[in-house]
Amino acid sequence: MAIIERPVDTPALAPEGGPSVVATPSTSFGYFRRPVETTGWRAWAFTVDHKKIGIMYGVVAMAFFVVGGLEAGLIRAQLAQADGTILSADKYNQMFTMHATTMVFLFVMPMAAAFANYMIPLQIGARDVAFPRLNALSLWTFVCGGIFINTSWFLGGGADGGWFMYAPNSDTPFSPSDGVNFWTLGLLITGVASLVGAVNLIVTVINMRAPGMSLMRMPIFTWMALVTQFLLLFAMPVITVALFLLLFQRNYGATFFSVADGADPLLWQHLFWIFGHPEVYIIVLPAFGIVSEVLPVFSRKPLFGYPFVVFSGAAIGFVGWGVWAHHMFASGLGPISVSVFAVATMAIAIPTGVKIVNWTLTMWGGKLKFTTAMLFAIGLIIEFTIGGLSGVTHSVAPSDTQQTDTYYIVAHFHYVIFGGGVLGLFAGLYYWWPKVFGKMLSEKIGKANFWFMIIGMNMTFGPMHILGLQGQPRRMYRWTDARAGEGFFNLGFWNLVSSIGTLVLMFGVLLFFVNVWVTRKAPPAPVDPWDARSLEWITTSPPKAHNFDRTPTVHALDEFFHRKYEDVGTGDHHEYKQVMTGEEVVNEEIAHADAHIHLPSPSYWPLILALSMPIMAYGVIYHTLLIVVGGAMAVGSMFGWALEPSTAPDSDFDPPADGTPSKEVALHV
């Protein structure tokens, strides 16, 4: 194999009077040519376009949402009646472990990553992320990791130690199947995805903002996503360490958690929760960002107290590191530690409360339009308030020793993660759907979707408060009539209500997919369907490969609003006159397209590198030879990555020489 092709067709000539070099690196490296396909599966598999990557993140995350939802359905079916027999104890334990793992790592986090990937470059006026190939690597690594974990279902059963995987119950004598190995290795792989993505997006936000966009003019979603990426950057190494310890404990005879060898199993809990608590904010902050975008648009007012929301987000990002042990109030830390962490936990309620107050005050005095996105956003305020307040009740450590590991906790974190996270993500889906796909989702189905989901979630998770306070522990594959009690608060009735609620909730989610299907052939959406306020709307929907024909210059927070409206009032009296429609703003940008647009070229290597990881992981479980094969593939693809030319031919765009702007930009992305 010739790695270097000599330029035979166009021999390098040195004509008299000066050097003239025809050969360029891209023509020298024939076998490392970059892909150029613009259609078909290759256009997606090898893309480095943050928009395509964002969409793929979303699609895969949604698929895992369905998987996790079905797992939840089986759990609730089992618990609908006393002594349920739908699942065996073993299968039930796998089910709740994988439900949590799937929902947290394979749905909410990647869904947030989908929004961050798609929206951050658009919101800051960039053409792409800072490291486009790394972006593709994040996506494919996540996909590989997610599929890898789920293959355990067909290879001896899923992990059965709970998503918190407390040592020593996760060690081989107590969990002899390969499930925990799949879980450990799978999370290590998806951890790579998160870490790579975090570095990428942080660099993007810090370095690639459009002219005029100071940090305090950045759209709030980008801000919250930035805080999230910092949390990921610091949290992921911790869980990686923990997972490696577990991996070696299980597979290579290490004794990190073996009591007989002098280890303390609480080590795992500390490591896990130092990751696990920031993880909660990793889950909810992007959703908070989305809601903070949606509420102002449909209230037609700027976000109330933008700097407060920004700083409270950052404060959550900091204080979130100092509260991990509130997951361990019952594990015997000693009264001093317990007190400190209890107070720190109460402290984090303050910045969280600030957000609720700001959202409420954003709507105050507004001109509220109840679109589906807005309904989801308001739903989030209500449901997250419930989750936050139940959180305060168990920051009270003695009270928490009664509540922890009961269904009350399950209720709490579902109100936080579903109420505070998933509802926000759905608000984002409805709000940005026309931006991403150029089509409107049906508002009618959307509202039904909202109401079924909100009623379903309250029916499912609301009764869990009661179940928990009545003493029903979590993670029990069956509950018994002997401990169910009688009267209004008996466990039997409320377990049944909760299980029926799950069906309602599932129907609500199904309506979303119905909505997508029904509107698949809808006419193109208007350029500015919501009268939006931020930068991502100053371009066509869906955006072109290069995002903006002209790199926008930013003059204010809510740039788009200020381009459309002018304050014609005098003194304290404000009156807003529309000076341009959204479409006119966009057309003006197109009319002044930039002369030269450089875009990154697609690449084969991120996908190949990502594929090598599950191969190595299977190797750890089954045969060392596979580790060698996967390792060789990984090293090889890294070299391929390093060696490939920096661009594909013709990937840059130059408008015609006479300076007339081009409407259609042909790009190989």
């Binding site: 035979v8 021999p11 390098a12 040195a14 070099v21 690196p25 002098g262 070299f639 390093a642 060696l643």
Partner: protein, 383 residues
């Protein structure tokens, strides 16, 4: 078409082949035939290579006029690799007569220099532009060079550092480490504070540091490691049969004190000034004279020994007789004992016990005692 070299090699191939045939027919020995066939094959291979590379002679490149080829237009640049290659080769020879390790180093040097040589020669023919050529070389070679060179550098530094640390005495290692950290911090501050500092200055500081470290490592490696004392475990003490012995043994009294263990003590056993042995649980203290300590069966329990007497003492546990493991007979019994090392006055030490058999399995039960103090004894009950 054929260059002179090629003609020569092809001719030699034919001659060698004929010779092999003749030798095989006329002579008895098989080795000669094999040798000649091998020579034939080798010569044929060389001839083929020569045809392919056209005797490395750009003048015979058929497609292009000689002056138009890329290689003809760039004078080869200076190269370090022939020298390194030769050096490596000599090192192999030296190694073969002295130590094998040196030969292996030489082999690695030869392989590395050969690879670099090839990469450079290859890149120089890529185009007519030497800047582009050097870029081509970097692109091919850097992804290999950087990780390997980095690993080697890290390996040398870590190894040198470990030699220095093993040579210093235990206390001095702490000081050395502190000083080193301070130096690092100082320079880091300096560089961060003055980003305009000259590139060359930074590099020279690093190089001086690295050379110093490596030199120190070499020196320390030659002068050898400090003496490292051995630690005895409680199990080891029991096997030596010293649990009934009040005398000193060479053991590290801090060996069994881990943070996790001190956080979860099943019982604190105190040897008082008056020679009495008493215990306390983290609950109600036994009122009056309670001389029976209960520990659970088949679960690790930490017992903390606190020596408040005036002498250095050890705490021993007697678990009845057991078959002597060294003799392997069921009839010869030795005491089954576990003990701490000798604990200084006012000192503390932990023992972790995991008792498998209940105390009632032995007629005399279990006891806790302090060798040398007859009054210090507790009954140990294990259900």
């Amino acid at each position: 078409m054929f260059t002179t070299g090629t003609k020569f090699l092809l001719g030699s191939t034919v001659v060698a082949g004929l010779a092999a045939l003749a030798y095989g027919i006329t002579q008895d020995g098989i080795m000669g035939t094999i040798g000649l066939i091998s020579a034939t094959l080798a010569l044929a291979f060389l001839a083929a290579v020569n045809i392919f590379t056209r005797d490395a002679n750009v003048l015979v490149t058929p497609d292009l006029a000689p002056e138009r080829t890329a290689a003809a237009q760039v004078a080869p640049s200076y190269s370090l690799w022939p020298v390194v290659f030769a050096f490596g080769f000599v090192t192999i020879v030296v190694g073969l007569v002295s130590y094998q390790a040196i030969a292996i180093i030489g082999l690695i040097v030869v392989l590395a220099a050969g690879a670099e040589w090839m990469a450079q020669a290859w890149a120089e023919r890529a185009s007519a532009d030497s800047a582009h050529n050097s870029e081509v070389r970097s692109r091919i070679a850097n992804p290999f060079e950087f990780p390997i060179a980095g690993l080697i550098a890290i390996g040398i530094i870590v190894y040198s550092f470990s030699r220095v640390m093993l040579w210093l005495s235990k206390t001095n290692t702490v000081i050395a480490f502190g000083v080193l950290a301070a130096v690092f911090l100082t320079f880091a501050f300096l560089f961060a504070y003055r980003p305009s500092i000259k590139h060359r200055a930074v590099i020279s500081v690093i190089v001086i540091g690295a050379v110093g470290l490596v030199a120190g490592g070499a020196a320390a490696g030659i002068s050898g490691e400090r003496e490292i004392e051995e630690h005895e475990t409680t199990a080891g003490l029991a096997l030596e049969g010293v649990c009934e012995d009040p005398e000193e043994t060479h053991a590290d009294e801090k060996a069994s004190q881990t943070v996790a263990a001190t956080a979860s003590v099943a019982a604190r056993v105190t040897l008082g000034e008056d020679g009495s042995l008493s215990y306390a649980l983290n609950g109600p203290n036994p009122q009056g004279e309670n001389s029976t300590l209960t520990l659970p069966r088949t679960t690790p329990s930490n017992v903390l020994f606190i020596n408040e007497s005036d002498e250095h003492r050890r705490l021993s546990f007697d678990f009845g007789p057991m078959a002597d493991p060294e003799i392997g007979s069921e009839d010869v019994f030795i005491p089954n004992q576990v003990c701490t090392t000798l604990v200084e006055t006012g000192g503390k030490q932990l023992v972790t016990l995991n008792i498998q058999e209940p105390s009632f399995a032995f007629p005399d039960g279990y006891r806790i005692f302090v060798p040398g103090v007859d009054t210090a004894e507790l009954t140990l009950v294990v259900p």
